[in-house]
């Protein structure tokens, strides 16, 4: 006897099972979430787990039918080629995206072609001959099974209009049944996927829609790690993965359980040194930052922190950089600058502050700031109002507007790296390189000192303002050059700081006065990428590709972000396909859910960084890595 379907069965828990608690859903599932659930529900009617592979045509055929599709042998052969050994759940989802369910209208249209009388019926004799001699021929037994359906056959005729209704009803009931089984299996799923089903996060009333990948995709201008990065919008169905590995992490909201940053006792008695800096977002999406050289004179306990810089808050103006994650990698110099050894990184956290505490021996260290880039990315929000930078009074004299002065004051605060209220030539040159691409030499600096307010050969805040006013006057009030300066410093036309993240580094040492100096501004690659790879390989979980022990995926997760690194120990380059489509409430630094990376022989590469979209909710990282070639 068939189980009677209940109207609420699809989305409610089985309250009769004591181990399960009922789920309350305040907001409906997104289309994407429904699609995913339906995929899993169908897959699990054929397999015990979505980690199992499809190993035969028959399995693929049956799973697709249970997912509401009508695959023909021609369709199956398209996805299961002579070279196919197996497919995984991810492949299954891709196929289901491409093969849409048959609609009632389509079905009726096909039957009408056989309806010579146009009376909604087909003679059994005609149906039999048609189905056994054309298309993908049916056997006599198969046709008899259809003819024996009592509800849609009478007097030697097949009522295809009734059949189409029955067909749709059966489809719906099949879906309900498979979803019910999914609920029943949820206990098992919790064990395998860490509360993936039960822990679906509630969503905000106005969620930001996550775009699902399309078959044809525009070229994405935001590219990270261009080197070795192969981007494919959606893998071709004829392309087969050699092997796959997946990794799942479930994070509770605002998890700050294990890695709390604690300030050492008696910190007030320690020697303190501070430096500011800034992450800048380049046109191509790459992030660059100041890098520092630090000197420790003798062995000492050290406490280091980094956090976004809190600038003066203009009322009503957003400050998105304050939510950017910041980290600091500490490398020790051995023999020369070319040989840097990773010592540690700021793995502890206290709200927006990241830090590290421990003992450092005497020597030269490099401090390399880092951000995942998940929260510092290009936004395509058009700014309607352009702020006014300059104006003329009644006499025609040029002035900076109050708003622009406030912004310049903030910029001064950022580029005054040592926080002494003055700009040295070195500090000013970081700014000059950033804004004009050239350095200010000693002669030009001497001219500045003669014409603008300075103290001890360093430019004051007022002097900095007057310098910009002079530039405006040189252009006779045209603000174009001023806007170039502002854009390169991360400001948009509304004078909002959206594409930069100023930060501040604090260093405390117990036994000596640490010295720190910003040395250059560099892309967050090179030394930093090496440091991140080394850190993830040391601290993360390693998973080997099935059958390819030379390809290892390392995943490091802390409360704030997850970083994955791909290690290729073989002598040939490999291409890895990455899919984050099954993650929940996540955002990565690449801005794509599906992409591919090329890893050279005997090398490692940072694959991606992932953070929660909404930190106040649970987030689930579910990433599938597949070897292409």
């Amino acid at each position: 006897m068939a189980i009677s379907p209940r109207s609420d069965a699809t989305f409610s828990s089985q309250k009769s099972t004591p181990s399960e608690s009922p789920r309350t859903k305040k907001f409906p599932l997104t289309e994407e979430e429904i699609f995913y659930m339906n995929c899993r529900a169908a897959y699990l009617t054929v397999f015990k787990s979505s980690l199992e592979n499809i190993i035969s045509k028959d399995q693929l055929y049956l799973a697709l039918q249970h997912a509401g599709r009508n695959p023909s042998q021609k369709t199956i052969n398209k996805y299961w080629t002579p070279q196919t050994a197996k497919l995984n759940f991810d492949d299954f989802c891709i196929i289901l995206r491409k093969e849409k369910p048959t609609s009632k209208a389509e079905l009726l249209k096909s039957f009408k072609q056989l309806d010579v009388n146009d009376d909604g019926c087909i003679l059994h004799t005609d149906l039999y001959k048609f189905l056994t001699k054309r298309g993908e021929k049916m056997t006599r037994e198969e046709v008899n099974a259809i003819i024996n359906l009592a509800d849609v056959n009478a007097d030697g005729k097949f009522d295809y209009i009734k059949f189409c209704k029955l067909y749709m009803t059966t489809n719906e009931q099949c879906l309900k049944t498979t979803l019910e089984k999914l609920e029943v299996d949820s206990k098992l799923m919790r064990h395998q996927f860490g509360n993936h089903i039960e822990g679906s996060p509630e969503r905000d009333p106005s969620p930001v829609p996550k775009p699902s990948p399309k078959i044809t995709r525009k070229t994405d201008p935001e590219t990270f790690l261009n080197k070795g990065d192969t981007r494919s919008s959606l893998l071709s169905a004829t392309r087969k993965f050699k092997t796959s590995v997946s990794f799942t992490v479930t994070m509770g909201a605002n998890g700050n359980r294990n890695s709390k940053l604690m300030e050492p006792n008696l910190i007030k008695d320690w020697q303190h040194m501070q430096s500011k800096g800034c992450f800048f977002l380049e046109e191509d999406g790459e992030i660059i930052s100041h890098q520092y050289r630090m000197q420790i004179a003798q062995r000492s306990m050290v406490y280091l922190t980094i956090k976004p810089l809190n600038l003066s808050q203009v009322e009503g103006k957003p400050s998105p950089w304050l939510s950017v994650d910041t980290a600091l990698y500490i490398l020790k110099e051995n023999e020369s600058q070319a040989n840097l050894q990773l010592v540690c990184f700021t793995e502890l956290r206290n709200r927006e502050v990241f830090g590290w505490t421990g003992e450092l021996g005497p020597g030269i260290y490099w401090l390399i700031p880092s951000t995942t880039g998940c929260r510092l990315r290009k936004k395509i929000k058009p700014v309607t109002d352009e702020a006014q930078l300059v104006y003329r009074d009644e006499t025609g004299e040029l002035f900076l507007t109050k708003e622009f002065k406030s912004t310049l004051s903030d910029i001064f605060e950022v580029i005054d790296l040592d926080g002494n209220g003055l700009l040295s030539l070195e500090e000013y040159n970081f700014f000059e390189l950033r804004t004009s691409g050239e350095k200010c030499d000693e002669d030009a600096w001497a001219v500045c000192r003669e014409n603008f307010d300075t103290k001890r050969n360093e430019l004051t805040r007022q002097g900095f303002m007057d310098l910009n006013l002079m530039e405006a006057n040189d252009r006779e009030g045209d603000p174009c050059d001023l806007w170039v300066t502002l854009h390169s410093m991360g400001y948009n036309k509304a004078l909002e700081l959206t594409e930069a993240c100023p930060f501040v580094i604090d260093i405390y040492a117990e036994k000596c006065k640490p010295k720190i100096k910003a040395v250059h501004m560099e892309a967050c690659s090179g030394q930093l990428e090496k440091a991140i790879c080394k850190s993830v390989l040391s601290n993360g979980d390693a998973k080997v590709m099935d059958g390819y022990e030379n390809i290892i995926v390392h995943t490091y997760s802390c409360d704030t972000w997850i970083t994955s690194v791909i290690e290729n120990k073989s002598d040939e380059k490999v291409i890895i396909h990455i899919s984050n489509e099954l993650s929940k409430n996540c955002i990565n630094n690449r801005g794509l859910n599906i992409f591919a990376v090329e890893v050279g022989p005997k090398s490692t590469m940072v694959c991606q960084h992932v953070m929660p979209l909404n930190e106040r909710q649970e987030w689930i990282y579910y990433c599938i890595y597949s070897l292409i070639s």
Partner: protein, 78 residues
């Protein structure tokens, strides 16, 4: 049954419904109908609680018992 058999045997090369056997439109419609029939019958089996070929049979281990425990009267509660 016999009537169908006789027809199939006695007129093997007859055009069906006056449509040539090599008509691509008709063959596409046939393939579509056949796939729909096959899909329908597969999904019809799901309703009776039958699991896939690789799944555990009735009374099998794991969650299968829970899934099929109510086959007779349906689970209590919801």
């Amino acid at each position: 049954m016999d009537c169908c058999t006789e027809n199939a045997c006695s007129k093997p090369d007859d055009d069906i419904l006056d449509i040539p056997l090599d008509d691509p439109g008709a063959n596409a419609a046939a393939a579509k109908i056949q796939a729909s029939f096959r899909g329908h019958m597969a999904r019809k089996k799901i309703k009776s609680g039958e699991r896939g070929r690789k799944g555990p049979g009735p009374g099998g281990p794991g969650g299968a018992g829970v899934a099929r425990g109510g086959a007779g009267g349906g689970p209590s509660g919801d």
